[in-house]
Subunit: 461 residues, 2 copies
């Protein structure tokens, strides 16, 4: 017994010393995270990749040639980094095309004034001659309903409720205003309107109309829907007070074509210990057709790829499989997110966590976590490791649209939360271009995501 | 005794109920802070004031006509808001003028290439013919000293140590690089150099030279000093490898004129209970001559004024005197800060705290506090009130240049800390213009400062 006990003690002591030596040889978490940031800020690739995606490929709405090019290029980009597996996942997507540039004119007495508009995504057209009709301005659906058919029939309904600037977090202002864009055409059509004009979802006053998807009810009447720039909305509202009987002319002829074959683009580093456990990081590759889709969501895609590249560059061998997913069709269908989740379910894939970057490539502020409270708390415990990089806001909250379909009560969904002040000035507008992206802000975002993925992989959830 | 005791209990009970009723009638701190942000974001004046300062007055280096105009306009602006007292404080300031636009050319073999340069503030000129000399590139003063007089004499020393991009906080990168600009000419002159070229203090690669003050030793030899754009620095460095004997030509003829009379511009709201206790909030009104001085430091000045305006707009009657100070001559002398502190001392003014905004008008991140640990802790205790507005980083740290001379072991000095990622792309360069300022970011900053001032005034320190 004594000898055995002695050996046991020796064994434990040796074991401890081995563990201790391993711990000493392993860099601490803070050192690894520091290295991820240093690599991103001194040798990052996301900015130059984003430059190519934005300026050489450009707009890439589902079904467009830009989307096809983006899929092929993104696959090659990841192959070039030597990830363990790079592949495409087929998905049928809607194919809506804007067609000729839209026109809109306010006409009163013998005067007229052009205003900047764009068709909302998915809208039907006006016909070649366009539509001319009087305008009724409302701010809420309640106000619209109170007007009733008598005051709406035959008119264009002008939804002019501004985003509320009093919020610090601009996504809350978007949440409060966006039903005008998404459902305005449905509500107006019910009362006999012939079209809708929606004030752009933009916190600034400027001359750029902001597109975004609009919906119709199954079997309902479809009326054309345009976004008007915020300056245009202010002008129209003033003019309506001066000349309530003014006429609004607009012409646009977008088309909805048959669904098209497209792809989610996927790359991964295989896990060394638990290859069947997946930690996903992603953004969406499609973008609206008016601009380059820089912040929405070229930045998210290039950051997701950068997460894997950073791990390879630092020779981090993850225990679990780290998978970057560039989703197709977030903007007008979410088919990529739905298809990915359906395939994951069919293949019995286990997703430990999914992290989405789709709020712009601005300075990182934190993460919002959609999971059980214990998992939110588990991530919040890493705050001392993350706060030195400005990642202070680690709270319960929404994960994101594309990863939403993965929700199953087990997978932790996480939204990357950058600073939101500038996002809605460029969101879905012609101003969402590469020159609006700051290199350091973009790189800090990729490194922030890599740091969180590193911790989740190392410690689990 | 019993009756007295009964009365005492009754009195205490009544007293408590009165206090309780008062507490109920007074809005809670979080409600007041919410109101400050709402007013700033929905009815803020700082952005339009900044537009005027930047676009109608423009550059305002000490001694310039722009500075004179800015002093008069800022005084009128505060008078228009009806502050209790608005006045000027005389201060003699340096008067340096850039003169004709600088020229610089790299010459080798039969080729030449112009590069963008600007004189560093305070530099002497080259004479009308300019200077042509060979170049020696160094990265540190140690490297320069190791070269010795033999390899430096008669040459232009090229200081080419980049700002370190690996820092998350860009001011640390500035701290590490700026001695090249401030003292490069001193060190190079000691070894017989005929001029210095300093890589611009800029984290981005672009074509804009960044000025900033350079120093000479009392009685030392003064040699001309230029900043070169970061792209220009990269080009020159490459070219030096290919053609080590290349010649660098540059011509500039700035002048140092006699000191000029100028002013700090001061406005205040008198304290209702302790008018002799001052809480100062400020920025600097002077700016470099190359641009509009938008982020440096038009934003800080307009935010300081907005703090007082917000308090008036919300009918907040401070206990203590809240004083906005627009300092003159931060950039090339700090005479305004020194004069203000000297006057405060002479007049036995008691400054409870001083808050400076001179790090740009970007999204607020927090405050750095230069005070005893108990006062740092006192401010940090308000973090739950401030964090909802993104003010997470409340730490010990530097206050600021202009308020520095107030340091006396009692006054709490505080630096407003906005996001720093974009600052050094525009700092002291022609790109520091109004269009680089985001309205919401600016307004959030003013409201953040007002919230902190409100708490300091209410609770003391």
């Amino acid at each position: 017994m004594k000898v055995k006990y002695y050996l046991l003690v020796l064994f434990i002591a040796l074991g401890f010393s081995v563990i201790s030596a391993q711990a000493q040889n392993q860099p601490t978490d803070s050192v690894v995270i520091r290295s991820l940031f240093r690599e991103a800020l001194t040798n990052g690739k996301s900015y130059e990749s984003l430059r190519f995606l934005c300026t050489q490929i450009g707009p890439r709405l589902s079904g467009s040639t830009g989307a096809v090019k983006a899929v092929a290029w993104t696959k090659r980009l990841m192959e070039g980094y030597g990830f363990d597996r790079v592949y495409l996942q087929e998905v049928m997507v809607p194919h809506w095309e804007r067609g000729e540039k839209e026109k809109a004119t306010i006409k009163w007495a013998n005067q007229k004034q052009d205003v900047p508009v764009c068709a909302l995504g998915g809208s039907v057209g006006t016909g070649k001659k366009g539509i001319t009709a009087p305008v009724v301005e409302v701010h809420t659906f309640e106000e619209l309903k109170a007007l009733g058919r008598a005051q709406v029939q035959g008119k264009v309904v002008f939804f002019n409720r501004p985003m509320n600037p009093a919020y610090t977090e601009t996504f809350l202002a978007y949440r409060d205003a966006v039903n005008q864009r998404s459902s305005g055409a449905i509500e107006a059509a019910k009362l006999g309107a012939v079209g809708v004009i929606v004030r752009s979802m933009n916190l600034a006053l400027d001359d750029f109309p902001h597109t975004g998807s609009t919906r119709y009810e199954e079997g309902g009447i479809k009326i054309p829907a345009v976004a008007i720039s915020t300056n245009g909305a202010e002008l129209l509202s003033r003019q309506l007070k001066a000349a309530p009987n003014l006429q609004f002319y607009f012409k646009m002829n977008p088309q909805t074509l048959p669904d098209a074959l497209s792809h989610n683009v996927i790359g991964e580093i295989k896990g060394a210990e638990h290859p069947d456990e997946i930690i996903l990081v992603g953004g969406h590759l499609d973008s609206w057709d008016l601009a380059q889709g820089a912040h929405d969501d070229g930045t998210g895609c290039m950051q997701a790829i950068e997460v894997l590249r950073l791990m390879k560059a630092l020779n981090i061998k993850p225990k679990r499989t780290i998978r970057a997913v560039m989703y197709m069709n977030e903007e007008n269908g979410l088919r990529g997110g739905q298809k990915y989740a359906a395939e994951a379910l069919a293949n019995k894939e286990k997703h430990l966590a999914a992290l989405e970057s789709d709020a712009g490539g601005f300075t990182p502020r934190g993460f919002s976590i959609e999971a059980t409270p214990d998992k939110v708390a588990a991530i919040a415990r890493w705050k001392d490791l993350l706060a030195p990089y400005g990642l202070h806001a680690i709270n319960a909250g929404g994960g994101g649209a594309d990863i939403g379909p993965l929700k199953n009560g087990k997978t932790t969904l996480i939204g990357f939360r950058p600073d939101s002040q500038r996002y809605f000035e460029i969101h879905h507008a012609a101003t969402d271009t590469f020159d609006r992206v700051n290199q350091r802000e973009l790189e800090l975002g990729g490194a922030s995501m890599a740091a969180l993925i590193f911790l989740i992989d190392k410690y689990g959830l």
